[in-house]
Amino acid sequence: MKQLQTALDAGRAVRDKKIGAVELVSECFRSIEENEPTVHAFINFDKDAALERAKSVQADIDSGKLTHPLAGVPFGSKANISTKGYETNCASKILEGYKPVFDATVAEKLNGIGAVCVGKCNMDEFAMGGSTETSRYGVTRNPWDKDRVPGGSSGGSAVSVAAGEAFYALGSDTGGSIRQPCAFCNTTGIKPTYGAVSRYGLIAYASSLDQIGPIARDVADCAAVLDVISGKDPRDMTSAETALNLDKKPSVSGLRIGLPREYFAKGLDGEVAEKVRDAAKLFEKFGAEVSEFDFSEKNMADYTAAAYYVIACAEASSNLSRYDGIKYGYSAFSEKDNTDLLDNYVNSRSEGFGMEVKRRIMLGAFVLSSGFYDAYYKKALRVRDLLREQWAKVFTDYDIVLSPVAPTTAYKIGENLDDPLKMILGDMYTVAVNMAGLPSVALPAGFAKGLPVGMQLIGRHFEENVLISAASEFQKETDYHTQFPIIK
């Protein structure tokens, strides 16, 4: 198996003048040229622009202007994160050719420390999906088995990291979209506390659930990226004042780690369960107190996914209404056949959105329509409140909750695509975290039949540092995360 450098190692090599920023970009593009035909992690990339950028970053490193540990290190950005003048199409036809006029706050922050963007990573259209199969620009393949999905929606981001095409990548997580592809591709990712990272410039799927986060080769890299992109943003009212205190690293010894029994019940693959339990044993060895618990008498897991889909789709139906085929992106308008405004709306949206996006827009519009609002949307908000209360209670007894990320390892391309319900069940361990706005770190826990198994550590709001600390200790004792696929 091929060894790949971490982002922090690469950054150190640049600072020690063992390698140049330009050379790092070239290295990524060598992998891109080699692997893209197989994995297709990127929708669009611009080698010349990346090399140009690396040159100017190198100059600033040489002059001492840039000193950040990640200066000069290439990264990939999910295709829903706005980058000025650089096509950001959310893997949708409706945003074909759309070049934002402004940078997302996270892009601005990464530019500020001398990061070099290699391209825009593939994703499920508008981040709706868990397999990167709903992209308008083709499926991304799992580098561990090209017949399998990489997970999603940040599938391209995870694959770019796993395949050596970028040292780290930005993803976004609305219901598991960072964590699940990490589990399927053997990468490490952080879904930050809601509000920890600015959403300004993130093209919205579900505003109250979306968070941008890092995907990388280990948790130290993720923490370094999170440190750059987090913080209060005056342009995003939902971003929080609370600082993350990432330099505080509590010891795992003495931490109380809980395993929710509901998450290890029916539907969970036996080998996945075994790997996660093995990890729990290792934490126990580090001195953590590990025990199992039940969320409550009422099994909230049964309601969580339903409530999640009601809320996410409701918000999506409104967020995606602005794509009307007039202002930017795809338009069905033609002088000849299309004289009518309504025709243009209907045709542009019918042709511009894919099946899954349309399904969610319709579901969302339905649950918000008069006469159904109370029965669906309002009830879903109540479920969310109950979930938050339930998690708050759990976190009086535990510091960390350890669970699987997905019920299975990566499945075959096309296997679940026509079965949206099965797809939804695949999210059951991840969506609860978004519903409660909690932070979670997903990291490799081993392999089952040659495919990566992931686990997630869930913590209290703004206690990313506790999770990072535990994950870091785990990665010191294990080598799962250092395994890289042979792409063929």
């Binding site: 919205a204 005056p234 409104s318």
Partner: protein, 479 residues
């Protein structure tokens, strides 16, 4: 037909006069070239997010306090979803579930007495853009400058029973908002717009009739006509055995009638839900108290203060306060020269005459007279540096040519003439040339004296000190 009573409720939209828009830093100024006051936020670019302008909340609270409302301490915004080219996000951020102000009233006085009109609620929202039809190209262009301009919607209870009450309320509301300094309330520019909900019912009935909603009135006069005509139309329909359809109607002031736009069955489902991009905003007691204490003085309070403090007549005080720009001019000029009687006189007599002659509306009066110049002019008159007649001429020039009074007086050599030798000689000449008048005066005709004063003034181009003229003339005539 007299057995029917008209029931009206109003929804008044008012654009707030904050410097910047409700969710971004773009200017709200009216009249800029299309799409020059836009940014990613107000043009709804993907990924942009709203940041609430606190000044908007402050203005809304001011309105609520002035209209005796309860102020909601926790404020939440909602999205109102609909497709229209002037709405770039395809939703309007508004407040459906938790309006900022509720349960208020405004007292009005009409020919039928004094009455409280209930204010159901006031909520904050963003304005949409504007479609400008280009008849030459036969297309519509979109101007997003107005997108995100803050609005409050003031929803009354259905407490009006006549067109007179409706218009009296709107006038009082306009005056109140103007004096709060939160809107310029210009109906022609659309910064104040009223929708009329109207139904009729037999006198004595307790149930409301089916109502219609009327839009597109751009003056109080048009509103008066629209209410009168719609009431008449509904009564006729019912009297002829018909029923009223719940619908939205568009008023055409030129045709003096309204036309159905859409029926209730075609009403849109706006799919309201709480705006997830804005966090709930808590108004502290301290902040509300601060707003309450810093509320600008209302027109009625100003009227009584002008009478009590400045000893102006009730009439002058109400003329001055009827138009806020004139009131501002009065207060600002008086603040400099501390001569309320004189400032009031010049405004209510001379400036208002000049406005009429030059077709200048009150909103534009600041372009014609500035308070510092007015104060200076008054000081010149009261110090005796120029006489009153000259003062009027200077004011004319100030108003029409925006001259600086000081420079104008100097350039045109208009200072008062106190030179007794010159006055003596001019009067001697006048007496010599007007022997007949002198004779008449001596014969007891007082009128002749005035004619002689006028002659002398004319000789001195109106600049002479009138007291000196009078004294010298009297002295000479009695010699």
């Amino acid at each position: 037909m007299s057995q029917y009573e008209t029931v009206v409720g109003l929804e008044v939209h008012v654009e707030l006069a904050t410097k910047t828009k409700i969710f971004c830093g773009c200017s709200t100024e009216f009249g800029a070239p299309p799409n020059t006051q836009v940014c990613p936020v107000c043009s709804g670019m993907p990924g942009s997010l709203p940041v609430l302008n606190k000044e908007v909340v402050k203005y809304a609270v001011r309105a609520g306090l002035a209209l005796n409302c309860d102020i909601k301490r926790q404020n939440v915004f909602d999205r109102k979803n609909y497709f229209y080219p002037d709405l770039p996000k395809a939703y309007q951020v508004s407040q459906l579930y938790h309006p900022i102000c509720q349960n208020g009233f405004l007292e009005i006085t009409t020919s039928s007495g004094t009455k409280k009109i209930g204010i159901h609620e006031i909520h904050m929202e963003e304005d949409a853009g504007k479609l400008v039809h280009d008849p030459w190209e036969d297309c519509s262009n979109v101007d997003y400058n107005r997108c995100g301009v803050p609005l409050i919607e003031i929803v009354s209870e259905p407490d009006f029973r006549s067109a007179e009450e409706v218009v009296t309320y709107l006038e009082k509301l306009r005056e109140t908002l103007l004096y709060l300094g939160i809107s310029d309330c210009k109906m022609q520019e659309g910064s104040m717009r009223a929708d009329i909900n109207l139904s009729v019912r037999p006198v004595g009935a307790t149930e409301f009739g089916t109502r219609t909603e009327m839009k597109n009135m751009n003056s109080f006069k048009a509103i008066f006509r629209a209410v009168s005509f719609e009431a008449k139309r509904q009564i006729e329909v019912i009297s002829n055995g018909g029923t009223i359809t719940q619908q939205t109607r568009r008023w055409d002031d030129n045709k003096e009638s309204s036309f159905a736009m859409r029926d209730k069955e075609n009403a849109q489902d706006y799919r309201y839900f709480p705006e997830p991009d804005l966090i709930p905003m808590n108004l502290s007691e301290g902040w509300i108290a601060e707003i309450r204490e810093s509320m600008p003085e209302a027109a009625a309070a100003k009227r009584s203060r002008f009478v009590n403090e400045f000893k102006l007549s009730e009439y002058d005080a109400s003329v001055l306060t009827a138009e806020k720009p004139l009131c501002d001019l009065f207060e600002n000029a008086n603040g400099i020269c501390a001569n309320p009687k004189e400032v009031s006189n010049l405004i209510t007599v001379e400036i208002m005459r000049l406005m009429k002659e030059n077709a200048v509306i009150a909103d534009d009066v600041h372009k014609h007279v500035n308070p510092a110049h007015l104060a200076l002019l008054i000081k010149k008159i009261s110090d005796g540096a120029i006489n009153r007649t000259v003062g009027k001429d200077v004011l004319n020039a100030m108003f029409t040519e925006q001259v600086d009074p000081e420079a104008y007086i100097k350039e045109n050599n208009l200072e008062i003439i106190n030179d007794t030798a010159l006055i003596d000689s001019v009067i001697a000449k006048v007496l010599e040339n007007n022997a007949k008048s002198v004779e008449d005066y001596r014969a007891g005709k007082q009128k002749a004296f005035g004619s002689l004063v006028g002659q002398a003034m004319k000789e001195l181009k109106g600049k002479a000190n009138p007291v000196l003229i009078n004294e010298t003339l009297k002295k000479k005539l009695s010699e």
